[in-house]
């Protein structure tokens, strides 16, 4: 007993105190961190000061960043909040980067060299509207021209030096929407052109110093405008009318307004609806008509004439002044696997300044955006470089006919992640020659020994670090014994699938989704399609990528099957029906392809793969296949069961109809679904029983069919603090998805979402805000099965009189009870995950993605509902921690150590073959991967274990034995001779 106590205490202490922190020299051994920025929206080149050339970009992931033009590295970057979308970016005074965000209500200035925030100004805003940022281009740094900002019905003039609002004009009453702000150089009067209700053009002349309206002119356009606008010169803009068939040139020279109408049909024959493209070209505009891009030159009197026409798939940049008052622009178009970059003068389209052809990877798709920049070559001629954004969101810099650098920015918007095994090492291939000679091997171990004896010099430490990385062989493209090397498959918003190596995070292969039905399907989700491990061993594993043609949920779906080893698409099919839900079934066919059901919007489900074998397997289990749908909008959860083949309606024998079995109707006036969650389908539970302190058994209620639902009062669905505690309550449910039984229901008065939850084995941990206590709370619910509680008697087990092997059916009335406990938690949370190991033996850790974009590992023992204020001795032995009102945040237990996973969206865990270890992959704007051992690596020696030391010790001991033996022999002999 005592020794058990001792051992347990030792175990407890060792795990509790040393925890899971990392030594400094271990950082970067098993983990990697990649920094991204997202798909670039705006780019502003900064080349005024020679020296470090950089480009300022703002992205769709709300990142503003400064990139090195030579290498594409990030000098600095700032990730704004998820709701703080960037509307405009500019450079003021030659030293500040100005960003306008949140629909024109936040203006910030960042110091250009280091990215420090200089000032931030909150601007008043009355309603949602398009916003506009106009930063004056002034070459004299000392003179402060105000920045004009329009957003939410207000026009503001803001000083660039300190962000002070100089004046503001309220246009909310008139409904005036500013379209263009013109600041003639050297004049204090600014011209503000805008529309009232899209039917009246108004020009204000405003004194930029005091904000007084000097003059105002307005003119009604009878047809109304469509809102698409392009400014062609300093005093002219071109807009489309509401029917999108007439181009209207609006001139506002000196505050006078003049309209000039040109029907599009005059320019192009048989024209359909026109669309003004975004590039700003001087005295010219680009219009998309009939799937072609036409260039329309705007004459002095507003006369329009077509000068050129290009195929639709051409991307263009804004025009840029080059020498001699001329402007040039860049255009990029595809031809086979090549892209052609052309820089032309705006005035003479035949005069091509630059023509380059570059080989381009097919899996990058089309060019979406081009940003052009000029520079002076060594021979004093004009050189051009172009920053291009591809369809897969990657960012490339083209210069001198080559890709100077590229960034895979698609990885900043990962939507789904799964893991896959690497190929097994072939017999012919020997284990990579890591240890070349015995001498090197010895040298390495001597170095390690020095390191462990704290004798190593700084150079040695570096050498050891290198050696470790090299000798671990972690970057090989084959499976390893411990399962540490794996592929992480990440599907991005752009519909590109990446395979990342867990060793160093490099991209092993990537593939852009394609479909016949539509140009570019969106990626929705990823599923393990074929994982051969018993049969079909000659086959490569494959994944199923579900995509959709269009953003609407009723859009037709696209399935692609991708070989994991090679990254090649095996097949892809346009399935002709929509995809609402994909249900992987627990059955595989003889080639280990997993059966999947795909539900469409009509209420039918479709079976995949479409083989007769799959059909026969499915028919066998037809009675036992259930599924559910969550209607988050109408607050109804419905359970369904298979009914029959829908052969009556279609000839498709793989299509089935379903019928409704149960509903849970949440009252719309008091509850709104904000979160639903199920267990991971592939989770392994090691033991179903839990031994209590008093040698009592508790059976976990381990069911795959449990659904966790959290609802809040509709009032409380908004921001935290927008309601009083009396108005808001949070209710959580555990629902059996076969029968619709509510197994657990608990309401938290005065609490509010957002709810972040994690569901594993028989427990749920969820995080929410307590309005009464003004704190975040974490609650744990554990659910136990009582129907098997009598199986404690050993004799019953021996004689087989237990019901442990009886099949469990959801139709039996469940006898369950729950235990729950709440704790305060000091941080707000972005996501929660839980570690998963191969056999589920290792204790679990919660991985909490905190608001600071870090990941905190918290032992599950801290959220044990059996914690009491004063645990008894027996409970302490079991590892129950005394109850505290809040959960501890131990700084050493941040698994991301010094890194931040900016814009953290999700955490994925996957087991390795070694039971103690789990893979953790976190994604957001950044990517982060590490291996975790929640209970330390009890089943293997660590990498830095010194075999040499062990060997030397053994040798020394053997030698010592012989020496002492010889000595004693000698002594004995001399004793006898005495």
């Amino acid at each position: 007993m005592a020794i058990r106590v001792f051992l347990l205490l030792l175990l407890f202490l060792s795990s509790a105190i040393v925890s899971f922190s990392l030594y400094e020299d271990q950082a970067g051994l098993a983990d990697w961190h990649q920094r991204y920025i997202g798909k670039v929206k705006h780019a502003v080149f900064h080349t005024q000061k020679t020296g470090r050339k950089r480009v300022i970009v703002s992205t769709e992931e709300n990142v503003v960043a400064s990139l090195d033009l030579r290498h594409g590295e990030i000098f600095w970057r700032h990730v704004l909040g998820t709701k703080d979308a960037i509307d405009g970016v500019g450079i003021a005074l030659g030293k500040y980067v100005i960003t306008l965000s949140s629909e024109g209500s936040t203006l910030r200035a960042w110091n250009l060299p280091d990215g420090q925030m200089v000032w931030e100004t909150a601007l008043s805003s009355a309603h949602h509207s398009k916003s506009l940022l106009s930063v004056p281009i002034n070459l004299k740094v000392d003179k402060d021209y105000p920045i004009t900002v329009f957003g939410g019905g207000y026009l503001h003039a803001v000083s660039a030096i300190d962000g002070e609002v100089l004046w503001e004009k309220d246009f909310t009453a008139e409904g005036f929407e500013v379209q263009r702000v013109l600041q003639p150089l050297g004049s204090t009067v600014i011209y503000v052109l805008g529309f009232v209700n899209l039917s009246e053009a108004v020009v204000y002349q405003i004194d930029s110093k005091i904000g007084e309206v000097v003059a105002q002119k307005s003119m009604v356009f009878p047809g109304g405008f469509s809102g698409e606008i392009s400014s062609v010169s300093s005093d002219k803009v071109v807009v489309l009318d509401s029917k999108k068939s007439i181009l209207v040139t609006i001139g506002f020279i000196d505050g006078d307004i003049s309209f000039q109408k040109t029907p599009v049909s005059d320019l192009v024959e048989n024209s359909g609806n026109a669309e003004i493209l975004s590039p700003l070209l001087s005295n010219m505009l680009a219009v998309k008509v009939n799937k072609r891009t036409i260039f329309v030159k705007v004459g002095g009197e507003g006369k329009l004439e077509v000068v050129d026409s290009l195929s639709d798939e051409t991307a263009m940049s804004d025009s840029l002044p080059v020498a001699d008052d001329q402007e040039a622009f860049a255009s990029v178009h595809h031809e086979g696997s090549k892209i052609h970059l052309m820089v032309k003068l705006v005035n003479e389209l035949d005069n091509v300044l630059l023509r380059e052809t570059i080989q381009m990877d097919q899996h990058r798709g089309r060019v979406h955006k081009v940003f052009m920049n000029n520079y002076i070559r060594t021979d004093r001629s004009n050189g051009f470089r172009a920053l291009i954004v591809m369809e897969d969101h990657s960012l490339l810099l083209l210069q001198q006919g080559a890709i100077v650098w590229s960034r895979e920015e698609g990885l900043a918007s990962v939507t789904d992640v799964t893991t896959a095994e690497l190929p097994v090492e072939k017999d012919g291939v020997s284990v990579a020659k890591v240890e070349h000679t015995l001498f090197e091997w010895l040298k390495g171990h001597v170095l390690k020994l020095k390191g462990s004896l704290l004798l190593a010099s700084p150079e040695d430490v570096v050498a050891i670090q290198e050696l470790r990385v090299k000798s671990s062989g972690k970057n090989k493209l084959t499976r390893d014994h411990n399962g540490f090397r794996k592929l992480i498959l990440a599907l991005t918003r752009a519909g590109k699938l990446f395979a990342l190596h867990t060793g160093d995070g490099r991209i092993v292969w990537s593939m852009l989704l394609k479909s016949q039905a539509c140009e570019r399907p969106n990626g929705i989700s990823l599923y393990q399609w074929q994982v051969p491990h018993h049969h079909a061993m000659d086959k490569n594993p494959s994944v199923l990528v579900v995509g959709r043609c269009g953003s609407d949920s009723s859009a037709p779906g696209v399935l692609s099957f991708v070989d994991v080893y090679t990254g090649k698409k095996i097949t892809s099919s346009d399935i002709g029906h929509s995809v609402v839900q994909v249900l992987p079934l627990p059955f595989t066919d003889s080639t280990e392809q997993r059966l999947h059901l795909i539900a469409d919007t009509v209420g039918h489900v479709h079976l995949y793969p479409k083989t007769s074998e799959a059909l026969s397997i499915f028919q066998r289990e037809f009675q036992n296949i259930y599924w559910y749908t969550v209607g988050a909008d109408d607050g109804i959860i419905r359970g369904h069961v298979m009914k029959s083949s829908c052969s009556g309606e279609t000839a498709d024998e793989y299509c089935f109809t379903t019928r409704e079995l149960w509903t849970v109707v949440f009252p719309s006036e008091s509850e709104k679904i904000i979160s639903t969650l199920t267990r991971k389908p592939n989770e392994v539970v090691h033991t179903q029983a839990k031994v209590n302190t008093d040698q009592d058994l508790l059976y976990k209620y381990v069911s795959r069919n449990l659904l966790f639902v959290a609802t809040v009062s509709p009032k409380g669905a908004g921001e935290i603090g927008s309601v009083t505690p009396e108005e808001s309550s949070l209710v959580v449910y555990l629902i059996d998805t076969i029968t619709g039984r509510i197994l657990h229901r608990l309401s938290h008065q005065g609490c509010q979402g957002p709810v972040h939850a994690v569901f594993s084995e028989n427990w749920v941990v969820y995080h929410y805000f307590n309005l009464r206590a003004h704190k975040y709370e974490v609650t744990v619910v554990e659910i136990y099965d009582q129907s098997r509680a009598e199986n404690k008697n050993v004799w019953k087990l021996i004689l087989g009189k237990h019901n442990l092997t009886a099949p469990i059916t959801s139709y039996s009335r469940p006898e369950v009870f729950t235990k729950s406990q709440s704790y305060f938690f000091a941080q707000s949370v972005k996501t929660i995950a839980v570690t998963s190991t191969a056999k589920g033996i290792t204790s679990k850790q919660l991985l909490i993605g905190t608001i600071g974009d870090q990941i905190l590992a918290l032992d599950k023992r801290f959220v044990d509902p059996r914690r009491t204020l004063n645990p008894s001795q027996a409970e302490k032995e079991e590892g129950i921690i005394p109850l505290t009102d809040s959960l501890p945040i131990i700084p050493q237990s941040y698994v991301t150590h010094s890194h931040r996973v900016e814009g953290l969206k999700g955490i994925v865990t996957a087991p390795s073959k070694l039971e103690s270890t789990t893979h953790v992959f976190a994604y957001g704007v950044d990517l982060f991967y590490t291996r975790l051992a929640p209970s330390k690596t009890y089943d293997s020696l660590t990498d830095d274990f010194s075999y040499a030391l062990l060997l030397i010790t053994i040798v020394a001991l053997v030698a010592a034995i012989y020496i002492t033996w010889a000595l004693s022999e000698k002594k004995e002999l001399s004793e006898k001779w005495r």
Partner: protein, 292 residues
Amino acid sequence: MAKLTLVFFLSFLIFSSSIAFQSDELLVDDDEFGLEGAKPRSTDLYTSSSSPQQQQQQSPTIRRRYSDPTDLDSKVQFTLEHAFGDSDFSPAGTFSARLKTWSHGGKTLTKLRFSRNDFSAEEKDAFKNLLKGDDFYRIRLPSNVVSPPGREFVVASVRARCLPRDGLDEHFIIHMEGANILAVSYGSPGACQYPRQFKLPAKWSFNSHTILKSSEQAPRTPIFTEEILGSENAEGEVEPPPERSFWAKYWMYLIPLGLVVMNAVTQASNMAEEPTGGQAGGAQVQQPARRR
């Protein structure tokens, strides 16, 4: 052990007192909430047409409800409908209850009664077909009892073969939120054997058990103020570790020590004959230690 229970009891008191305080604040008519001072339970109301045991258990609570009639009560009735497989729903029984309106605007159902219609001849046939096909017997209730059917019907189903025992045993758990029905759990009162056997009921009458359930309140997160901790300390000598004998504590040290001593003794006796065997003796003493 007694101390331990005392501590538990104390902590329980702390919990329960804080909980009792909470229900006091929230609800005007506190005495409606069953046992005072207890952990706020879900206000389960059992009605049962053939389970006297349950009724007895719950009768004190129900008695209390009876003794507290309010003017704001109103009677409501809502129908249970059933369907056989894919057939249309038809009335199968009536629930009647008293709707109590609280002064703070909340509503609860009390005194739930249920009258089940017996199967007609066609329904019996339909049910037999269900049993043969192992198909679903479906029921539904309105989602709002004041203005049925409310937003939508609340549907529940069970494999028909789960119901027959002697008669037809059924068990409802109706989850309420005010006057709204969230969900109904429907099935047999006990286990449903799998694989399900085809079995016709001995008599075609229903044994119905009904439970009304409303939401359970989460206990407040305990806040350990100085006061509570102080009172804990004032209780004094919280749980001294259970006294164990000297042997139980130190046996793992004593046994090797004993071995060493024994070894030394034998060595000493050997040494008496051979006065110079000291070194060898030392080596021998190490042996047991190495073996461990």
